[in-house]
Amino acid sequence: MSETRVEAAVQAAFKDEWGRVVATLIRRTGDWDLAEECAQEAFAQALISWARDGVPAKPGAWLTTVAGNRALDRLRRGARGAQLLEQIAYDPLRSPSADKDDEDDDQEPDVIEDDRLRLMFTCCHPALALEARVALTLRALAGLTTAEIARAFLVPEPTMAKRLVRAKAKIAAAAIPYRVPPPELLPERTPGVLAVIYLLYNEGYAASSGDELIRAGLCDEAIRLARLLRRLMPGEPEAAALQALMLLQHSRRDARVDSGGDLVTLEDQDRGLWHRDEIAEAEALLAEGGRAESQGALDDAGWAGGEASRDDAGWAGPNSSIGPYRAQAEIALLHTREPTDWVRIVALYRALAKATNSPVVELNLAVAVAMAGDLEAGLALVNELAQRGELGSYHLLPATRADLLRRRGELEQAAAEYQQALELAPTEAERRFLRRRIAELAG
């Protein structure tokens, strides 16, 4: 077999199987470093063995077995080994279920049995610092090296290595359990896992400095992790919604920056550059989750089809409503259609603002209200937000006000607001965009 084909096969197996191999070894040995090292060795061995013997029918089972044997060898030699081996004896590494696991990759995996879900919840445990959760998830589940994670987050490699060591030490010393939380804890813990995945996506999406390629790769990793989470938690609608949301945002990646590297607003994007297959996949995911249901929730709240009224009675909170990722995904989906249903977007933003209490969401709501036809009400919402001061020096506050003033024909005032936004904008691409707007107003 040719070298390149073997390398491609190992690379593909790495993307698909790394997390599974590591997750299984952690459960069986309780040792994160041992699990990672043995997984690494198994992939290295694959390059040699597969070139000699061909790619096995079940690469995942092959890798798990080889990594497991390496772990057994090391434990046998190690000081703590005997004790651990005794523990493992009840759960032999070469369990018959390892092969079974791999056979039905397309089937719904057993939610209880899949170690990767345990690994996800443990990596995202709220007793770990947020940056440690993100780093652990990328290392243990996605298989990024410490150096890659360090580059993605623009920190020196020793800093990232220390962060990972410290997190693993805490997991061991403080006995953070390696498990999927019991049902009573799930509602509290699942949003944390979703948040880490979405944070990864946003880090990649906002790639504005550093190693662009690695940072952009974070988007793919995040989507891959969301897809896995959805398969492992079929009963969790927010997992599917998160995947849909990221697919929708990702589908516009080629259109949001022009050839000169400048940002292009949604309105001005070349829709021909959107990845239609990803939009379709997201649409299917949302349809599966029951669009009718969420439509009902919005109707109950009295918004669908209604005017952009400021009366907010009737929204009964997150339990009776749609989740925040679902609301965002539906908004993103509506943005792919023409003409844009701004009235429904207003309803969704209202729901989201209520559920999240986020001033950034309120700012988006203000834009939607204006776009739905009530420019005055939109502007009033922005002004109210500015007065509350919660958004501090967030550049999109004056930028939004500028945009609404521009639409109202108050060009001089709009220019002044753009100028203020320009002073606050964090990236060069955004500053270029704002300068262009100012130039347009002047001309």
Binding site: P126, A127, K170, A174, A175, I176, P177, L185
Partner: protein, 234 residues
């Protein structure tokens, strides 16, 4: 798994807080004793009653006040037995102090052995081993191991030490707060100070003088410092 639960407060109370504490603390104790989770614990006298002990050049130096002078202070502690950090967090979040202030949960380095027939009479003074500045705890442990054993024998011979032991690194701590019914966790100890708590001993000596004498005899007094604080009703 044994954890130390440190109850933090700033000492400022309102009638509402006082009433909640009065009602819910005994309920918490009852529940956790019943579950076999709470092994031992009590409230401490305020930081005014604290003495910090150092030995330098053979001289015992005793100063008033706690080792770290912060607005919030340790108001009490419990040693708990929990199956995992999740259970320890659940236990901490049920303690009413976490609803207004914070509870720090830190694993002990080794399992602690508490005499089955302990009584509150024996829970008299808390001895806190305080490390002044960053230190490699493992190295330190190596350095003083022999001396610590001699000290433990001395304390045992006097019948003055009920229980205690070294804690895991401060970076393994989790701080628990409950606000609006939501459990909020922070990675790390409650007080991020230069000086940190590395271990505790609960002494049953009769007087503060005896407790201070034992503190001065502890090898850590030569290298770092120890804080002595009376428990309530001691």
């Amino acid at each position: 798994m044994n954890y130390l639960m440190l109850i933090f407060t700033d000492g400022v109370s309102t009638p509402e807080i006082a009433a909640t504490m009065q009602e819910h603390t005994p309920k918490w104790v009852e529940e956790m004793d019943g579950r076999g989770v709470r092994l031992l614990g009590n409230g401490l006298e305020g930081p005014d009653s604290a003495k910090t002990v150092r030995v330098r050049g053979g001289q015992t130096l005793i100063s008033d006040g706690p080792f770290a002078d912060t607005k919030e202070f340790i108001g009490g502690l419990d040693i708990i037995e929990a199956e995992s950090l999740d259970e320890a967090i659940e236990v901490a979040a049920k303690h009413p102090v976490s609803w207004y202030f914070a509870v720090e949960v830190r694993p002990f380095k080794y399992a602690v052995e508490i005499p089955k027939d302990w009584t509150y009479d024996q829970v008299r003074y808390l001895l806190m081993s305080c490390i002044d500045g960053p230190a490699e705890l493992d190295q330190l442990e190596e350095q003083v191991r022999g001396d610590i054993e001699a000290w433990l024998e001395l304390a045992q011979a006097r019948g003055a030490r009920l229980v205690g032991g070294p804690l895991a690194e401060p970076s393994t701590a989790t701080t628990v707060r409950v606000r609006d019914g939501e459990t909020l966790l922070t990675d790390g100890p409650f007080a991020d100070t230069k000086e940190f708590l590395a271990g505790i001993d609960i002494l049953s000596c009769e007087t503060m003088e005896e407790a201070l004498e034992l503190a001065a005899a502890n090898p850590l007094a030569r290298l770092h410092m120890l804080e002595v604080r009376p428990f309530w009703g001691g």
